[in-house]
Every structure is written in C-alpha cells, then in structure tokens.
C-alpha cells in the first residue's frame, strides 16, 4: 500500500466511530483549530486560492524527495478539511501525490465540500497541490 493510501485508511478508520454528523463536524472543527498555522510570510496574495465563499492559502516546499505542504483558511471547516488533505499528501513523493485520487473524502462523507457550488477553494487547492508536485518532479529530472 502506498503511503498515501495508508494515511487515507487511517482517516477512514478514525471517522468510522462517528455515527452522527455533529460529532464528525465537531472533530473537523477541532482539527481546523489545530492546523499548524501557515508561516505569515506565506499568507499573502501570491499564495491565495480564491473561492467565492472562503479563502485558502497554500505553500509547498520540496525536501529530500518529498513535498511538504502548509496551508490555512479563513473558515474553520475548510481548515479542518485542509488538515486532512495535508495529513494525506504532505511528506509524500511527487509522483504519488500526482496519482492520488483522494477517494477517502467521499468515504468519510465530506464530498459535498469538494463540489463546485461550495466554491470554498478546496477543489482548487487540491489542483494546486498536484501542480506543485508536478513542478517539483519536473525540476528534479
């Protein structure tokens, strides 16, 4: 199993204990509060991913063959979901990030947050995370 699939599995198991949506969202909110804040230096226009409703800031660097992401959002639920995305993708090699299907989002019942109509920046954030991975991979070869 790839590193990413393993992380996804962990999260799916974590979420299995919630049988009501309120517990689940409380957990996501707590996660949101615990996301390591992005370095304020990166919380700038250049790193912003615009959604019509919530904004996301994303920064990536390449270290020892792995991509390290940090991110932030002005909305807590968005931030909690960001925490999950980072948990899964950060610290993985570019190729795996590019291939990741992020199916776990669906399995833990958060797909609605990745729909176009939410326009909370998450969909574009995943796209941007993959673009970073692609760029790092290119620069490596």
């Amino acid at each position: 199993m790839s590193g990413i699939k393993e992380k996804e599995q962990e999260i799916i198991e974590e979420f299995e204990i919630f049988d009501d949506w309120m517990d689940k969202y409380n957990y996501i909110i707590e996660l949101g509060k615990s996301v390591p804040e992005i370095n304020p230096e990166y919380k700038k226009e250049k790193h912003i991913i615009r959604g019509c409703q919530a904004q996301v800031w994303l920064h990536a660097e390449y270290k020892d063959g792995k991509v390290i992401y940090t991110a932030d959002s002005d909305a807590l639920i968005t931030k909690g979901i960001i925490a999950l995305l980072i948990k899964v993708l950060s610290g993985q090699p570019p190729q795996e990030i590019i291939n990741a299907d992020m199916a776990f989002i669906d399995q833990i019942g958060l797909r609605e947050h990745l729909s176009q109509t939410r326009s909370n920046g998450l969909l574009n954030m995943i796209k941007q995370m993959k673009l970073y991975a692609l760029a790092f991979q290119k620069s490596k070869s």
Partner: protein
C-alpha cells in the same frame, strides 16, 4: 385569498421536502423562489395542449399559443402599469434585460467622455454590462456610494449627476442588504439632466407593487424566477421613445420585417427586441405567477413579510456576537448578518446540515462586502410562504452553530 399559512404553503409542493432527514426550511428566496402548483400546471398545460411556434403558422395551435403569449404581455403591462404592450419585452431574465439596454442604448446614445452612474450596492448583473459598454464607447463608469446602514448617499448622487451622465442604473431593492432605494427621487433628479434611468427590479417584483408610470423610469427589469415564476424568463420594460430609437440587440427570426441580402428591415416593437423563437411556456408560467401575486395581494404580502422580518430581526438579536449588515430604514424581507467570530461559510455549512437553506458568501455583490470589510454574510431572505416557526428553527440552529464554534 388571504395569507393564511396553511392554504398558502400547500400550494408549494417543494416545501414538503426533507433535507438531511429534516423538513426543508427554505430561506434563500432572494436567490430564487419556489413555484406554486398553478405555475407548474400552467407549464404542463402548455406543453400538453398548446405547444407550437407563435406568430407564424396560421394553424389552430399556433393561434392559441400566440394569443396566450400576447395576453401575457398585456397582463404584465397592467402589472407594472406601462402605457403600451409594445413597451414590454420578454427576455431570459434581469441579466439579459440589462445587457440589452447596455448594448443597444449605449450603441445609439453613449459617446466618448460620457458617464454612466451605478451604485455601490449593485448586483454584478448591473455592474459588468455597464463596464463593457463604457469600455466599448470610451465612456466612464461612476459609482454612487452607500452609507454604513446600506443606503444610497443621495447627497453624493446629486453631486455626481451632470450633463455628461447619459444613464443611471440602480437597483430598486438590494439583494444583499434588502434596502429599498428611493428610485422615484433618483429618477426625478436624473430627468433634470435628460438622463435616462434603468431600474433593476429583480428583488422588488416579488415584494412591492411596480408602477413604471408613477416612477417615470425609462427602463425596468425583472426575472420570473424570483417572483414565483419559472426560470429563464424575464421582462424589460422600456419607454417607447427610447426603444424606438435603439438598434436591435440580436438578429434572427421574429425581429425582422423583410430580409434580403442587400438590406433587412426590422420589425416593429416589441418584436424588434425578441429575436428567435421565444420562451413561450415560461412566459405563460410567469403570467400565472403574477396572477398568483395579485390574488394574494401586495398589501397582504407586504404586511405579512414585514411582520416576519421584524420578528426575525428581534429573534436574531438575541444571539451573541451577531452583526447585521444592512440596516436601512426602508427594506424588504432580507436579513444579512454574520457572527463576528465565526466565518459565514462555517455558519452556512452547519445550517445546511440542519436542513436550513440560506445563502452565504458575497451574493454577487462584492463591492458591498468590500464596503463593510467582511468576507461575506449569511443572508436570510423570506417569501410569503415562510413562517415564524421557521424563524424560530433558524435561531435554534444558529444557537447550535455558536455552541459548535464559540
């Protein structure tokens, strides 16, 4: 028909839905309203027994459809108290109505150095078409600012008006703040400079009576879907004196008198502005929706909705850290607010989980959000079928939100 909740609500089948295992509470009526059975039945009836192309074939069905379509035009003329049927143009909605005027009026009347005035509280649909027109004709777009209550700065408006102002485009009712603008006064002042005024009535039509003669407006636009009618249909009212002089917006069938490759002559009003096969079924649906509004009666609608609005503001004020955006003296049933310590997206997400539909975000009025320096608001907008129990459910849900994020 009186506004008794029971009778009224039964006419809206969708209100029986459940969302996330809870009865739907729909408080997003400024985005679009639901449709009463009479409107839904009208669409069905058209396709089952009248469907055919209009103003063309001389056959029986075509005659039926043409008569119904032109009767709808007459009914809408009465609804807005226009002088002539041919001043009522059917469009796809408010957005298309504004674009039509922005294109055709500007083509004829807008010259380099001229000015168009819009306000800071306009919907994007009443901003972008004017930006495009100004760019095309090298004219300048000027903005009437708002105050912190969400009202137009009339003093500033007076200052901005001049001989260079070719057209003023303002909303009758703001979709993000609920403010009812003093359009009659705006029009009176503009006419001192022979300046035309377009009124965006998208948010006014479902709530307050429209009298284009009393307003003396030059153009008035509204959408069927925001006033209990179908989507994809709307109206442009324009004074004959302008419409006569304006060039067509689109070319095609219906809008021509004679076509040859040398020269085409255009049809008369209103057909000059209705190129192609029109949306007959939805025009008839909109006609029914207007009949529905008239049957309930504007006075009863206003009394009921104002009462609900007042109740909602009172109840919402009980909540901690709530900030209302838009506190104009004159307003319709829109309440925009946010919790100062919770992002509107978070509030909206939890409300949705609780089966309550509201709008969160900038409501296609980004300049308004910029004015108040906020990321967006939670917007609650009522229609005549909403109830105080629904307001109570909203307040309880918001208390839950506070519990979760506070």
């Amino acid at each position: 028909m009186a506004v008794t909740e029971d009778i009224l609500r039964k006419q809206f089948p969708i209100l029986g839905l459940t969302v996330n295992k809870r009865p739907l509470i729909y408080l997003d009526n400024a985005a679009t309203t639901h449709k009463p059975v009479a409107v839904i039945d009208r669409l069905r009836h058209y396709y089952e027994s009248e469907n055919s192309n209009i103003h063309r074939g001389a056959h029986h069905l075509s005659q039926l459809a043409t008569e119904a379509y032109e009767q709808a035009r007459e009914n809408i003329r009465k609804f807005i108290n226009a002088g002539h049927n041919h001043e009522v143009i059917f469009t796809r909605g408010t957005t298309e109505s504004i674009n039509l005027v922005a294109y055709s009026f500007s083509k004829k009347f807008l010259n380099p150095g001229d000015e168009i005035l819009i306000s800071e509280m306009e919907h994007h649909s009443n901003i972008v078409p004017w930006q495009i027109a100004c760019e095309n004709h090298r004219a300048n777009l000027k903005i009437i600012p708002i105050n912190d209550k969400g009202e137009l700065r009339m003093d500033q408006y007076r200052e901005l008006l001049s001989d260079k102002t070719k057209l003023v485009a303002v909303t009758h009712v703001s979709n993000s703040l609920g403010t009812i603008n003093p359009v009659k006064e705006i029009i009176r002042l503009a006419h001192q400079y022979n300046t035309a005024v377009l009124v965006d009535g998208a948010q006014a039509a479902p709530h307050i009576p429209i009298d284009v003669k009393a307003l003396d407006c030059d153009f008035y636009c509204f959408s069927g879907h925001k006033m209990y009618g179908p989507m994809g249909v709307g109206v442009l009212y324009g004074k004959e004196k302008w419409l006569e002089q304006m060039p067509p917006y689109q070319g095609g069938g219906e809008m021509i008198k004679e076509v040859s490759f040398k020269k085409t002559t255009f049809n008369e009003l209103p057909f000059k502005f209705e190129a192609g096969t029109p949306n007959v079924a939805d025009v008839l649906g909109m006609d029914k929706a207007i009949q529905f509004i008239l049957e309930v009666g504007h006075t009863d609608i206003a009394r009921y909705e104002n009462d609900l609005l007042k109740y909602a503001i009172d109840r919402l004020s009980e909540l901690e850290n709530i900030q209302f955006i838009g506190t104009a003296e004159q307003r319709t049933s829109v309440v925009s607010f946010l919790f100062t310590d919770i992002h509107p997206y978070d509030t909206g997400t939890i409300l949705d989980k609780l089966g309550i539909a509201v709008r969160t975000g900038h409501h296609c009025a980004q300049p308004v959000m910029e004015h108040f320096q906020i990321p967006g608001t939670v917007r609650v907008s009522f229609a005549l079928y909403n109830t105080k129990e629904e307001v109570d459910a909203l307040v309880n849900a918001l208390a839950k939100v506070r519990e979760m994020f506070g």
